[in-house]
Subunit: 111 residues, 2 copies
DNA sequence: GCGTATCGCTACAGTAATTGTAGCAAGGAC
DNA sequence: GTCCTTGCTACAATTACTGTAGCGATACGC
């Protein structure tokens, strides 16, 4: 009944080439996706704790994103709540430089 | 060729904490933003060439995203078209591991 | 049994974001 | 002049998202 989101391989918006990077950029470019991964980067969170961490984002869209991320093998649901899979943890490693970039960037973007 | 300076827009969705990483995740999490940065990663592109590269995405939204990215100091408009700024190039450095991740990820997403 | 929590998850209507098509004005080449 | 191309915009249609409420299941103490 939830609208099942296509697995990463199928037709992904903005990815008619089938190149994995396009599918990934599309997945990560959906609202709250990056934020969810970020919030799960060091700890598992229950769906409600995750919602709190995400500024009380709508549960509808969080659930949708979590379903997509689970299908993508980036997030899994355990007894401790949602947490990153091994793949997901690999992905967050690319976030660390992103964090440092954000600091440099903010000093310039504020002006 | 640049014609006008767009109105400033400072409020970033999903960033009530003021932490730069949140503002950045929000900016990058808008549709086509990641893709645009990706397409500009090694070459400058005119607005139309960029549109072609982005699977003929709507010029409305591309223009919106380009304006945001210019205000963020990540993209600039030159005589050669749009291209990444120094900051933007720093950002794409975090994309290289992302590319490699996408390859590994695709092999798993097939399941 | 009760009431009261929590969990993951969904319904639904209202609102905001995005799409698709068309077209503008300005500049350069012929 | 006519053709191109450039960056950019208008506008309605469609889709994505938000906000609030609430479901069924599970687990507590009573």
């Amino acid at each position: 009944m939830p609208k099942q989101v296509p697995p990463a391989r199928r037709n992904v918006r903005g990815s008619r080439t089938g190149r994995p990077i396009m599918a990934l950029l599309d997945l990560l470019g959906r609202r709250w996706t990056l934020r969810i991964i970020w919030e799960l980067r060091e700890t598992a969170l229950t769906s409600r704790a995750l919602r709190t961490a995400c500024d009380e984002a709508s549960p509808t869209i969080l659930q949708t994103r979590l379903t997509e991320l689970r299908e993508a093998g980036i997030v899994e649901l355990t007894d401790d709540g949602y947490r990153l899979t091994g793949l997901g943890r690999e992905l967050t490693e690319t976030f660390t430089p992103l964090h440092r970039f954000a600091e440099r960037w903010s000093k310039r973007a504020v002006d």
